[in-house]
Every structure is written in structure tokens, then in C-alpha cells.
Amino acid sequence: MQEINHLNDDIHATKPYITPDHSLGSVTDKLSAFVLKKRTPFVWFIGFAIAFMFAQLLPMTIIWLLLNGIGIWGNNQPVGWAFDIINFVWWIGIGHAGTLISAILLLMRQQWRNSINRFAEAMTIFAVMCAGLFPLLHTGRPWLAYWLFPYPNTMGMWPQFRSPLMWDVFAVSTYFSVSALFWYVGLIPDFATLRDRAKNTFFKYIYAFLSMGWRGSARHWLRYETAYLILAGLSTPLVLSVHTIVSFDFAVAQLPGWHATIFPPYFVAGAIYAGFAMVLTLMIPLRIVYGLEDVVTERHMDNMAKVMLATGLIVTYGYLMEAFFGWYSGSQYEQFMIFNRIWGGPFWYMYWFLLLCNLIVPQLLWFKYFREHKIWLFIICNFVNVGMWLERFVIIVTSLYRDFIPGQWAMYKPTIFDWTMFTGTIGFFLTMMFLFVRFLPMIPIFEVKALLPVAQVEEDKVHTHA
């Protein structure tokens, strides 16, 4: 009973994590029905069509890119990295929420995560896919990008391990594989549920294949829980390491505006910030369309908004420190960079827009009203999504375009292909999300059951017997 109180009856929380009218059976019925029984909502078709249409920009752009070279983008001298790396970091940041929710919150026994982790993990995987495209395609000769991997070859050449790009390769590929594994392992019991309930033989076979012979025996559960915990333990440092390493791409360089020790924590906080914002951005409409208010409650929204507020403040601290370091360094280049970024340079408005999105608007989250209001929260999250993109723009472009030698300063302007590549990945990401909610249980059926009062009682009883 202690557990239940802790979960549902703390002082301020009036909203539970799951509505009391649910039983074990009703949860399974409701959540498996989205995949198996319920008619796909019409909105799904519209949304999917639009997302799929945008996704087509991606192959088109990539083909054109491979035919012509990355000169079709706006990158130039001195702005060697622009949309490519901005988008990479942005997507990777978004990809942080899933693993954070799954792993860290699991380890911290925050069981409310059970309602949203599946969804967030799927988002992570698709976001990392989008992210991975950019570093691959931004190279001048993508067909040789495999040279970044340490593989035995007749040239006798190894990659250069001092380069942060090399570390990126390891960090991102590890992160992707562990996240994918973690996600899949978490899906196994639900695949079994779907297998048991599916009427369509074809799907039955598919789900049977994917469920790897899960029968739900105690031994299975034991193994499962152990494996899941181990994976969570593995993923946890990755959440911190990936964005730390991504931030090294900048921090290791000596460019004013990049070369800062604050980058790793600041980037990780930013990533969580962006990730939660994206989870909410996708979750809020889904909740409405699929009527999920009973399992993804306002309590969830409130909790996530709180995490956003906290990480948002860390990010703000990062902005302050960047400016402070610039001034305190005594280096004229750093000082100029800060002056130029905030006030003196042609991209000054980007910085102020960034502050509006990431610093000012999210202050509304101090109020419970905004944390629980689905429309307001959706709007605020979108500000953060944009703001986090702008943050990367400010860091990357406005550091590069005004560096050490004034004679080489130049402006940057994206081309149409920069935008099609970016919107293409968004389209791809959304397409994958649409397919995910259609064919996989977007809310973990068995894990949500753990939130039911009955689960707590059972567990307690077992405990007493022992």
C-alpha cells in the first residue's frame, strides 16, 4: 500500500497515472485494439499521407546530392558545416528522450514512465536514423564514409582516433544499436500478446516471429526483467555519452564559440530538453486522436513539463556561461564572438529568437495550468523544438562565419536543398511514427498494467509470502 500512496497520492498530485476504472483486462483490450481491432482513425490516413509526401523529399534530395555533391547545399568557406550538422545535432538531441525515459527513469523506479516509454523509444530510434543520415551525407564523398570505421583493409589505414568525428561514429552507432535492442526487448511480451489476439493469420505469424516464443512463464519474466535491467544499465551512460561526444565535435575545435568546457553538460541538458519537448509534441495529439487520456494522463504531462523546465533552466545557465566565458576569457576572439552573436553580427536576431524560444516562453511551465493544458503545452513544446534547432544554428553558423581572419568572413544562406533535406527527414520521421502507432503497441501493455492498483497489491502479497 505504501507504493500506491507514493505513486498516486502525493500532496500536489490530484491526477493519477492511470484512471481508476481500468482493470488488467481492460488495459490489454484497449491498448491492443489500436493495432488489431479498432478502425484506423481517418486522421491517421491524412497525417500519414502528408508525412509520406514530405518523406519523398528525402530520396529526391539525396539522389541530387549524390549526383552533384554537397555544393547543392549552402555550405561554404568558412561555414563548412551548416544545416547538415545543425540537423544532425538536433535529431540526436531529440533522440535522447527515449532512452532517458526508458533507462534512467526505470533505474530510478519512476514507474509513470511505463505509459510513455515505448513511444519515446520509437521516437529515439527514428530520430537517430534521421540524425545518422546527415554526418554520412555531409561528407564530400559519402561512398567512402566507411573509412571512418576501423576495419581491416589492404591500405593498412586506421581511422584517426584523435578526431571527435571518429568518436561520434562510435557513440552514435552504439547508441543506435543499444536503443534499438532495448526497444525490441521491451516489445517482446507485447508481441506475444498481439500474437495471441491477432485474428489475421499473416499478422499472427509476424507477431509470433517477433515474440521469439514468449510464453509468459515465470522463468521468461525473470530472464526478461534481468535483461531489461542490464540493457537499462547499459543505456544510461550512453544517454550522457552520446551528446557529450557530439558536443566534443565543437568543444575540441579551437573556434571561438565552439571551444568551451561547458559544452558537454550543456548539450546533454539541451538534448533532454529537446527530447521531452518532442515526445510531448507527438504525444499530445495522439492522446487526443486515440483517446489515451486514461493511460497517458495529465499527470504524465505535468511530470514531463517539469523535466523540461528543469533542463531548460540548465540550458539557460549554459547560455549565460557561454557569454560569461566569452567575456572572462580575455580573448579578443571570444569577446568578439559573443558581441557579434548577441548584438553586432548579421545573425543577431537568431540569438534573440533562440532566447525567446528556449528561455522566455518555457517559463510558463512554472504554472501548473500550462503544464497540464494540452494546447498550451503543445505550443510551448513547439517553441522548444524550434529553439533547440536555433541553438545549434547559433553555435555552428554564427561561430564559423566570423572567426579569426576578418578577410575571410562570409555570410551563410541555406539553399532549397538544405530545406528539402531537413523537411525530408521530418517527413521520414513522422512516417515512421505513423507506421509505428499503426502496427506496434505504442503504449506498453504489460508495463502499464504495473501501474494498476491491482498490480501493486499482488506484488505486495508476493512480498509478504516470501
Binding site: G74, N76, P78, W81, P142, P164, A253, F404, Q408, K413
Partner: protein
Amino acid sequence: MSSKDRHINFELMRNRVLSEQNGKDFWRSLEELKDSDELQEFVNREFPQHAEEWNDPVERRTFLKLMGASLALAGLSGCVYQPPEYIVPYVTQPDEFVPGKPLYYATAMVMNGAAQALLARSNEGRPTKVEGNPEHPASKGMTDKFAQASLLTMYDPDRSQMVTYRGVTSTWDAFLNNTQPNNVGLKKVLADQQLKQGAGLRVLTETITSPTMANLMQEIVKKYSQAKFYSYEPTGRSNARKGAIMAFGQAVNTVYKFDQAVRVLSFDADFFNDQAGSLRYTSDFMKGREPGEEMNRLYVVESVLSLTGAKADHRLALRPSEIEGFARAVAKELGVSGVQSNYSGNEQWIKAVAKDLKEHNGKSIVIAGESQPPVVHALVHAMNNTLGSVGKTVAYTDPIELSQDANKTPLEGLKELVGEMNAGKVEALAILGGNPVYNAPADLKFVEAMDKVAFRAHLNLYSNETSEHCHWHINETHYLEAWGDARAYDGTVTFTQPLIEPLYQGKSAIEFLAAFTDTQNTKGLDIMKAYWQTQTLPTSKAQAEAIAAMSEKKEVEKKKTAEHGEHGEGSKPETKPTPSPEGKPTVTPTPTPAPRPSATPTPSASPRPAASPSPTTTTTAPVPLPSATDFETNWKRVIHDGFVTGTASPAKTFPLKTDWTSQPPAQVGTGYEVAFRPDPNIYDGRFANNGWLQELPKPLTSLTWDNAVMVSPETARKLGVSRYEGSVNKGGQNFVGTINIDYQGASVSNAPVWILPGMPDNVLMVTLGYGRTKAGNVGNGIGYNAYKIRNSNAPWFGGATASSTGNTHELVSTQLHFFMENRDLIRIRDKEDYLKNPAGHGDESKKFKGDSMYEQRDYSKEYKWGMTIDMNSCFGCNACVVACQSENNIPVVGKEQVARSREMHWLRVDAYFGQNQNEPFGPYFMPVPCQQCEQAPCEPVCPVHATTHSAEGLNDMVYNRCVGTRYCSNNCPYKVRRFNFLLYQDFNTPTYKLMRNPEVSVRSRGVMEKCTYCIQRIQNAKIEAETSDRLIQDGEVVTACQAVCPANAISFGDMNDATSKVAKLKAEKRNYTILADLNTQPRTSYLAGVRNPNKEIPERFKLSTTKEDGHGAGEHKEGEKKEGGH
């Protein structure tokens, strides 16, 4: 079978084969179908590119059978016509020829009449690079950007490739011999003219100094006594000649000796660029500028901002019309008798300058630019006379240009010609080179006049605007394909010899002119030899001794790749004198024009240009007959050397007249004034189709691919045009306002305006050479045509009206920011401060030595390459950039890509103004190649080891390994790396394949590239040194940028060798590195500049004094950017 409609279709052909067999079981050979075009083309393709058949197994088998049959039967058929192709190795390899080793031949490029002596590098018979001829007095091994870029012109696929008659392909023979009235040839015309002593015959040439041409002209005039020769070039020295006529009563050539001068005053003369002897003048001037007590001082009074002005210790910007008054005031102050002046203003300046010049009597030069009217030139002659300079720093000789009437200026000649054409007196007009239809002053209406001539023939490299209006167009040979001669600025006879058989069977000017004499259709070499045989050439020995004596005088700065035998340097075995069988000293082969099989009109067909000697070339006669020995030996010697010693025109004294001094001073204009200048890169328009020069950032503005009207910031405000610095499209070019200019009744519209600080107010500087319509694919339709408003009465400046159009135009520049933002890159100090504390500019480079996370290498074992760039000498001409482009196969990217800041130049020259926009200072120039950092920031960030450090301390770039992450470029604080964002190299144009330096990889798309310190040259020197088991000597490796530099600003060498020039310079107190506080430890260092201002002239701007700390961080304000340390 994707293209059934295509002619070369296998199926179609097979059907034909089968249908023509008339039922026979087999056929003998494909020759039965020889007359079928499709088949011929098909078979000629060794490996058909569009072999659709290969996709279809059945078709493929048939195809192979067919091919097999044709191969098997080829032997039977016997008499197959083989096209002549030299694909076999030499039976007897020429002595000096080693495949893979370049040969150097002395030749010369002629521009505006003056010869620039060159050594052209030939790789397997293809000229691939030009360098200066180190022995030649005018070149001393240096070249200008035009000579460097002329290589690209030679290989330009847009060059005229054939003789045309009214635009229709014709032949040289037809041009000579045709007799049909509607298509009449030269012989017929000449025969008609002979009847009236050539009364209707006119020849219009460019400025000509060639002795052989002079001889031909004489011959022609002998035969056609009424024929007239005119020469015109838009930048021709008409004012100078007129000024000399005013001053001396006759045309005079002035030769300056800047090495003897310590005070120089220039009136609108950009003598670093616009004189025939500019290369030599620059080099001499910079020698006198060595920082120290005795350094020279330069005063410049000018109406535009020029490179010479930027380098001046004191510069005064005046309207063009005001300079005459100013010059009179100075002359009066100097005490030139009879000069009147009513000039007021700048008194302190005038007094101080005059005093300074007088104090250096006999050691000063006053010089005037061509853009100033004759009277200023006359004043200058008088001033030099008063200052006692004549005979010391100024020498007068007879003019080097040829003219029928020396008292007539080229411009007057052109006017006369137009008058005659309008009067119908001209029946046959031959135009040798040049492009008068495009570049004659607009008021002469040259086209209308020329259209009245019944027979018009035009010889040119390009089929240009003039060719369009001529009946006959003859394709000219490039100087690298032809024999010729010309005089250098001082009169030295200089030879042009071909390095390659003419690519398009063109005719040289000499050959063209010879067609007017009795000896029609002779080869250029024969004509030359026929003439020179009548002249006394110095004996071969005398010539060699004279050159040896000359070069001994030179300092040991043997920096050029001297390919002349007598300089015991490493890399030039090819031209060493070898004893002849008779034991007499002779020289190895006179460079032989590399004849090319005649059946292959374009080099594409035979990618391997044969360098075998042509049997018809008499120079290759192995042992000349005794009787011919004298001339032949001497001839070979002078051709080998490229010039004849002792042919410099002797200095003469000319009595100064004074009658001109009474001429009333000209009125100073009010309102706007237009000043015309040749474009700094494409000159008068002749290089419009040269991509290297179009893309070369123009000095001072870094503008590319366009011309603009240069105005001062104040004038721009008045005109109401602006440069929208903040508004950017693409990568960051400028959208500028445009104006319409009305000048002397003509107007040019929509000319973009570039705000150039340092321009005098109310002056609109327009540059010539743009707005071409028939330049070629590169040069057509860019920029505005300033010739449209040029007037024969006021060819250089005059009052004009201008108004803003409200439109904008996109200009692209490689540099968008011209203030240093207090960054201490360029360090310039005053002489006083420098003498007090030579290291006062601050050198932080030593502070950090040894601080590094990574292991410090030891470079003391072998070589430690380093470079210094002297900020005191560099005057920003950008010749080094083209030299680098030529040497390193750097592509041209085009305007749109430059607009995106993606130019590929490995070396750039940054320019920074001091002070603010309204009172600018400088700009000063900073060439920035790769700094070759010892702790290179680019290296640790490359994920694939594509940029690594060599044992000699060079930062190497491995193109093949590069995947193109661009991280290295982001991390390079000097931003010297260049990325192939798209496929910039032209891999398709066949001629460009011939042009490229075979020792440098041609980079493709997606690869980063950068300056390598010309590592190919280092490697060559190393091979050379290793074969003789020694170390590379100082001066053996000369980088391309170093070789070309007329100011000797760049030095390169081994820092481990304490006696090397570079080691000495690095030990100098002026040495510093840029951004040293980043601890990159660059191998390229800079030598601080020193200015020598006159204290009596009020300074608007005070240069820095000594700085206590090496590094000046901290506050800066937009308005008070400073140059130098503080």
C-alpha cells in the same frame, strides 16, 4: 536498346550489312561498307560509349562476332589508311629529353608592345607554366599575372580555330589566292593596290616594337609607297608621347631607375602596374625600400586608388583634372622655370614634397601616369631635369614603339584612319590583333567607318567583335606557338619562340604581314632568320659572357628556376652548354617547336603531343656548316637566352623646350568626373575570356567576374547608392546600387557601384574591358562596357553626370570585410619607431614554443621548410595567386560559386584598410597561403588521417584519403583550406588536359585541398640533390608564388640551413607570425612593414608606436580600427 533513333545503332548496321551482302554466305570485310558513315564512326570508336547492345545477350554475341571478324580480316584487307600518329617512342631520343622531366624554353609575351621575357616550362611538348626569364633585364625572373594567365588563353577552347570568310570556314590559301569578286583574296587585292602604290592600303596594328615586323613594314612601304600603318591600343601611350613631344620636340622613351632613387613622386602613375617596365620598376623600388635609415619614400598624388597609391608613404587623392594644377604648383615650388600655377590648397604638402625632393637632388624621380594629359608629362620631364635626375635616375632613349610618323600619337593615328575610311580612301584594311570595333573611342564610330572599306581582314586569337565586322578573319597563333620578337621597356630585343606546334594552324603577326610582301606564305622562323641574318648578333661567347657578368652583379637571391646552363643549379641539365664536335662552345638545342602531326587538328585526337623535331625546321640541323656556323651558333645562343644583350636603347640627351610652359592651366572640373582605367585583371578586355583572370580577385576590392564604378563613400552617399552589406543572398555577395553615367554625349547605364574608400570624392572610376559580346563563353555579357563612353578627346577623364537608377546588381567579391577588427594581423610601423625598436611590433610566436599536448617532433634532422612574406614589399598585385593556380591545377569555379564564397585559390591576398571609411589608410596587403603549422589544428580533427604532418614539418594533404568532412577547414584559424563543393575541375575539355601540370594531382569533387608549399618542386629538388648525394641548396626550391613575385616579398627555404635566406629573414627582428597566440606555430611568417612618412606633412593618421605586450586584446570600436600593433 534505348536509342533506336540513334545513327550508330548496332541493329541498323547489321541490317545494312546483311542487306548489302546480296545473299552471300559471308562477307569479306567491313570495308565493303567503308563508305557508310555510320559504320565508320562505329568502328572508329574502340569502345563504343553507348553500346546498348551490351545489355542484350544476343546482340552482344553478334557484336563480338562482328568485331572478331573485322579484326581477323583486317590483315587480309591490307591497304588500310593509317592516320599519321606519333605513338611510337623516339628512335633516337633527343639528348635533352627525358620523359617526365620538364624542359624550359626562353620565350616572351608581348603586351602593349613591351616584351616580357619568360621561361616556359614544357612537359612532353606541352607548355604548362611560365616563369620569368631571370637573365633578362626587364624580367629578372619575375612575371605579372597576365603572363601567368596567358597559358590558359593558349589552351582556351574558345580560341579562333580557323580562317573564316564572312563567318564561313575557309582556309589560309583561300585568303591568299581567291580571286572571285565576292570572295576576294589578298593577292588580288594587293595586285590592285600595287597599281596605285598602295594608296588604299592601311594596316592597323597593336603597339609594335618588333624589329622583324619593322623590317617587313619597310618592305611593304617600299612596295606600296602610299600604304600607311597605324597602331592603336586603348591603353597605348599617347599622352606620354605627346608630353615628350611637348617637352623635347620629339617622341622619347623614358626609362626610370628606381633602384637609384630615394624619393619618388607620382602623378597618377601606377608604376607598379601600368608601365612597360613595371616589373623591373617594382623590383627596383622594393629594393630601395629595405627598412632602415636609407629607405626610400613614395609620394603619390592620384585620382583613383591604385596599388602604388596604397603603398605610398603619403598619398593625396585629387580629382583627375586637379592633378595638373597640383603638378604645376610642385614644379613651381621646385623652381622649374616658366611654370605658372594658380593652384591653391595642400600648401604644406607641396612645400614639404618639394623640399624633400630638392634635398635628394639626383636621387629622386617624378613620374606621371598615362591618364594624365601631355602637359603633366612635360612638367614631369621638366621637374626631373630641374632635380638633376636625368642621367641618374631617369634615362631618355629613342622610342621603342614603331610608328610611321613618330610625332603622331597612336590615338591621333586612329582618328586619321577613321577619317580616311569615312572619306572612302581606304580600300583594304588589315587589322593585326587588337579589337578596335570594341575598344576604339565611341565618338570615332569606328564600325561605321570600317564598314565602308571594301576588303577587311582581321588577325586575332579570338573571333571577336572586330572579326565579326571583317570579311576575313585569320586565326592567330598564341605566343607560345609562334616565332616573334619584340623589345622590352628599355629596348632590349627579346625573342618569342614556340613551344608547341600551333594548335589550330594559326598564323603569327609576322607571317600575316609577310603575306603582304613578295615572300608570301613563309614560315615565321624563316622570316625572323632572314631578317636577323642581316643584323649583327653578338657572338655566342660575348652573349654568354655578358649574361654571366650581368648575373654576377645580381645578388645571390637566385630565387628563380633558372634553367640556364651557366648557373650551376640542380634541376636543369637540359640546357647545359655542351662542347660541339669542333670543340667550340655551343649550346644544346635551340628549343624546337614541337611539331604535331598535321592530320590531327585538335590535340584531343592525339593526347600525346609529339615533341619530335620536324625535319623542316632548320634549327635542328645537327652540325651547322662552317659557313653558317657564326650566325647559327649566335642565333641559337640568343634564342636559348631569349634576348640579345646590349640591345637596350642607348641613353640620349634631349634638350628641354620651354615653349609649352606658357600653356594656360586646365580648368578644374566641378561635379562628377569620370576616370578611365584598364581593368586590373582583364586589362583592356583582351583577357575577358580568361577564367583565371576573371576569377582572380581584383586588387584592392577583391571583386571578381565583374567591373564596377569605384566611388568614395561620400560620393556614393551623394549618388544615393549603397552597398547592402547586411543583405545577403547565397553565401554573401553584395547587392549594390547601379548608376547611369553620361559622359561627353554618350552614356552607360546600370553600372554597379563599388564603394572604395580612398577614392577622391566626386570621381567615378570606370574600368575598361568588360561588356564584351564576342569574347567567348567565359567573357561574354559580363560587366558594363566603359568604351561606350570613352571619347577620343578625353580618353582618360572628364566631367560627367551620373544618377542612381534605383536598381541593384550583384557583385561578387572574395573578401567582404576590409577592417581588421583590431586583430593585429598586418603590422606596419613608422620608420622612426622601427629604428628605435625593431622588434616593437611584437612577436608572440616564441612565447608558446613547446607547449603542446601532443608530442613535439624534431625537425632538425633533414629539412625544415619555411616561408616568409614581407609585408613591407608586398603591394597586392595578386600575380602570386594566378601563378599558384597555374602551377597547382586549381580550377575556376564561376561567379555563382564565388558568390557562395567557394573560390578555390590556395593563396589569397587579404587587404585591410586602416582608419575609417572616410579617411582610409592603405589598404595593406597580406598574402595568406597555408601557414603549414607545426601544431596544425586541422590534423587532429580529420577522422581519416587525410591531412598529416610530414617529417619536414609540412602539413600534407592526402587527396585520395579525404572523405570531405570539412572539419579541418572549420578548425583552421587561417581559413586557407578549400573544398571542392561541386565538381569544379573541367575533365572534359581536351585542351585543358594538355595544360595541367602533370606533377600535381587534379582534384575532383568532395575533396579538401590547400597550399602545399609546391611540394612537387621540393620533391624534384630532392631527387636532384639525392642523385648527387647532397642536400638541397638554398634557392633550389622556388615556390610558384615566390617565383612570380615582382616585389620579392616571398622567400622560401630550409630553416635548418642557417645560411639560407629564409632562416636569415626569420631571424630578423621584423619577423612575426599571425594568430601566434593560438600556438599553431606556423612555418609561414611575416615581416612587419615599415613606412617612411615625412614629418613635415600633417598626418591624418598616426601609426602605432612600440607595444609593450605582444598581444593587444580588448576593446575596439567600429570607427577606430587600427593597423599594426598598438
